[in-house]
C-alpha cells in the first residue's frame, strides 16, 4: 500500500504565545517546533504499522520552508521512507491543501493520512479540502483503521457512540487518538533519517480563501478566589449570585 502522510509543525505546547508587527504576526522567536502530535502519533505511526503488515511505502509531505527540515527529519527518524517538502509558507488551509493535493495527484497514493487538526490553528480543514480536490472519499477523526485488500474498515467517534465504516481506497483519512501508540525514535532511526531522501518541490499558484488579519491574547483571568473547603454553600452562592453560571 502506497501511503502519503501529511505532516505539519506546531509550536511545542509550553511555548509562550506572542505576536509582533502590531499583532499581525506570530512571534517565532524562542519558539520550539514539534511535529503536530496528531500527525506524528497517530497518522504516521499507523501508516508505518500498515506498511509493516501489508508492505508498501510511507512518504511524508509538508508544506513549509527550509526552517522546517528538522521536523521532517524527526518524522523520518520514526520510520517514513522518504519525504517531500513543498517549498512555501502555508498561508491558509486551502492553499496548503492545494499544494498537497497537486503532489498527491501526480503520485497516485492508495491512502492519504492526516492528523485530525493542527494544534496551532485547530482548523480541521486540510483533509476535507484535499479529499474534494482529489475527488476521494473523506473519513474524518478516525480512531481505528484496518486494511483488508483495497478496502478499509474505520471507526470514528461521533456523539453518542462509535460508527464503523467501510470504504474503498484511494481515500483520505484524518486520524485521532486510538489509531496508534506514539513511537519514540531510536538511535538507528535518527542516524538513518539523515540520509533518507528529502525532495523539495515548488508550489503551484493558488489564492488564499481566508487570511488572519490580527491576533489577540485573551483577557487575563482575574485573581482566583479561595473558598474554605468546609463552606461549599458559599461556593454555590458565588456560582449563582456572582458568576451567574448556575
Amino acid at each position: 500500500m502506497k501511503i502519503l502522510v501529511c505532516i505539519s509543525k506546531s509550536p511545542d505546547t509550553t511555548s509562550k504565545i506572542s505576536f509582533s508587527d502590531q499583532n499581525t504576526k506570530f512571534d517565532e522567536s524562542g519558539v520550539q517546533y514539534i511535529v503536530n502530535p496528531y500527525d506524528e502519533w497517530y497518522a504516521l505511526v499507523r501508516a508505518l504499522e500498515i506498511k509493516e503488515s501489508v508492505g508498501g511505502s510511507v512518504t511524508i509531505i509538508t508544506v513549509g520552508t527550509q526552517a522546517d527540515d528538522p521536523i521532517i527529519r524527526k518524522a523520518l527518524a520514526i520510520g517514513a521512507d522518504n519525504a517531500v517538502r513543498v517549498d512555501a509558507q502555508p498561508s491558509d488551509a486551502f492553499y496548503t491543501a492545494k499544494q498537497l493535493s497537486e503532489y498527491a495527484k501526480e503520485n497516485a497514493y492508495d491512502l492519504i493520512l492526516l492528523g485530525k487538526e493542527t494544534i496551532n490553528y485547530n482548523g480541521s480543514q486540510v483533509g476535507g479540502m484535499m479529499a474534494q480536490l482529489l475527488d476521494m472519499p473523506f473519513i474524518s477523526v478516525a480512531s481505528k483503521l484496518e486494511v483488508n485488500g483495497d478496502s478499509l474498515t474505520l471507526e470514528s467517534e461521533v456523539p453518542g457512540g462509535i460508527e464503523v465504516y467501510e470504504v474503498l481506497t484511494p481515500c483520505v483519512v484524518s486520524c485521532a487518538k486510538g489509531m496508534a501508540e506514539q513511537r519514540i525514535p531510536n538511535m538507528r532511526g535518527i542516524m538513518a533519517a539523515r540520509t533518507k531522501p528529502l525532495s523539495v518541490v515548488s508550489p503551484v499558484d493558488c489564492q488564499n480563501l481566508t487570511s488572519v488579519v490580527s491576533y489577540e491574547l485573551p483577557n487575563e483571568k482575574s485573581e482566583c478566589k479561595m473558598i474554605d473547603p468546609d463552606n461549599m454553600d458559599q461556593l454555590v452562592d458565588l456560582l449563582h449570585g456572582e458568576a451567574k453560571v448556575i
Binding site: 505546547t13 486551502f94 480543514q125 474534494q132 467501510e166 480563501l209 491576533y215 485573551p218
Partner: protein, 313 residues
C-alpha cells in the same frame, strides 16, 4: 438568505439552535437544511430562533460526508446562497472543508463571534491561548460556529418544513455498524462540566463525580492520563489531544492543570479547582479555588448543590 446546515441524526441539540440564532443575527432571512428522519414537529422548533424554512432530505440517514457536501452545495446553488453556517461538530469538521473547496468559499472553522463591521470573525487559535481575527476573501462564505460561543436568542418565526427530493452523488462510505455509548449530555455542548484527574486515585472513586454531575445536570470529563489508563472512556478526555470545550462552568477535581489540559478548557467561562496542593498550576487559571481533599469536598459540594437545586427549581 443564509443557509444553516445542521446535523439532526442525534436529535436537535442546543448547538443547532445556536447556529440558527447566529445566522439570524447576521441580519438576513434564515433557512435550515438537514437530512435524516427527524420529525416535522421537532424541526419546526428551529422557527423559535428565526428559521423561516427547514428543508430535510430524508434519504441520507448516516454520516456520509460526500453526499452531505453534494446536498448542501446543490441547495446553495439552487437558491443562490452566499453564506452557509454550520455548528462546529463532527459533521461540519468533515463536510465544511469539502464544501469550501467545491464552492470556492472561504471557511472560518470554530467561529466564536459574529462578523464585525469589517467582516472579521474571531476564532480560537494556539489551543485557546490566543484569538485570531479572520477575514474571508471570497464572495461565498462558510462559518462553522463553536458550541457555547453565543447566547441563544428567541425570535419566533413561522417555520415551514419541506421534504426535499434531490438526486445526489453516489455514497462512497458504507456505515457497517454503530456502537452506542452511554453518557447523557454530549460534552462539547454541555454548559456545566464536572471533571476529575489522577488525584482521584482509581476508577472506583468516580461515583462522587457522577453524583455531583447528576445533581447539577452536568456532563463528566477527565484528564488524559485517566482515559489513557482506562479509568474513564476516551470520549471524556479533554485537552490539547482530546476535545476542547467551553462550558459556562468547569469544575476540576484532582487535576494539576498542565498546560495541555488547560488548552482544552481555558475557554470555560468559570473554572472551579479542587486540589490538595496549593501550588497546583490549575489555581492560576481558576476563578474559584478550594485547597482540599476531593474525597471530602466533592460530597460536600454535592450536598450544597442539592440544597440549592431544591430551592431554585
Amino acid at each position: 438568505m443564509i443557509l444553516v446546515y445542521i446535523n439532526t441524526l442525534n436529535g436537535i441539540g442546543k448547538s443547532s439552535y445556536e447556529a440558527v440564532t447566529y445566522a439570524k443575527k447576521m441580519g438576513d432571512s434564515v433557512v435550515v437544511l438537514t437530512n435524516g428522519n427527524e420529525e416535522e414537529s421537532n424541526l419546526s422548533s428551529l422557527g423559535d430562533y428565526g428559521a423561516e424554512k427547514v428543508m430535510i432530505h430524508r434519504e441520507i440517514t448516516s454520516f456520509e460526508s460526500g453526499q452531505i457536501c453534494d446536498l448542501i452545495s446543490k441547495v446553495a446553488e439552487q437558491h443562490g446562497i452566499n453564506t452557509i453556517v454550520f455548528s462546529h461538530d463532527h459533521v461540519s469538521k468533515a463536510v465544511a472543508p469539502m464544501l469550501s473547496t467545491r464552492l470556492s468559499a472561504g471557511l472560518v472553522p470554530g467561529a466564536i463571534s459574529l462578523p464585525d463591521s469589517n467582516g472579521h470573525i474571531d476564532v480560537n487559535v494556539f489551543s485557546g491561548k490566543a484569538i485570531a481575527k479572520v477575514s474571508i476573501n471570497s464572495d461565498k462564505k462558510i462559518i462553522s460556529l463553536l458550541p457555547n460561543s453565543i447566547p441563544l436568542e428567541k425570535n419566533e418565526t413561522t417555520c415551514v418544513v419541506e421534504d426535499l427530493s434531490l438526486d445526489l452523488c453516489e455514497a462512497k462510505i458504507k456505515l457497517l455498524s454503530k456502537k452506542e455509548l452511554e453518557g447523557d449530555i454530549p460534552l462539547p455542548e454541555a454548559e456545566l462540566v464536572v471533571s476529575a484527574g489522577r488525584g482521584l486515585k482509581g476508577p472506583e472513586n468516580w461515583g462522587m463525580v457522577e453524583d455531583l454531575a447528576k445533581t447539577m445536570g452536568a456532563a463528566t470529563a477527565c484528564s488524559r492520563p485517566v482515559s489513557d489508563i482506562g479509568w474513564r472512556p476516551h470520549h471524556e478526555h479533554v485537552g490539547q489531544t482530546g476535545i476542547a470545550i467551553r462550558p459556562n462552568l468547569y469544575i476540576a477535581a484532582g487535576i494539576s492543570g498542565a498546560i495541555q489540559h488547560l488548552a482544552g478548557v481555558n475557554g470555560s467561562k468559570v473554572i472551579v479547582v479542587i486540589n490538595t496542593d496549593p501550588e497546583a498550576p490549575f489555581f492560576k487559571a481558576a476563578d474559584y479555588g478550594i485547597i482540599g481533599d476531593a474525597f471530602e469536598v466533592l460530597p460536600k459540594l454535592n450536598e450544597s448543590m442539592k440544597k440549592f437545586m431544591a430551592q431554585n427549581n
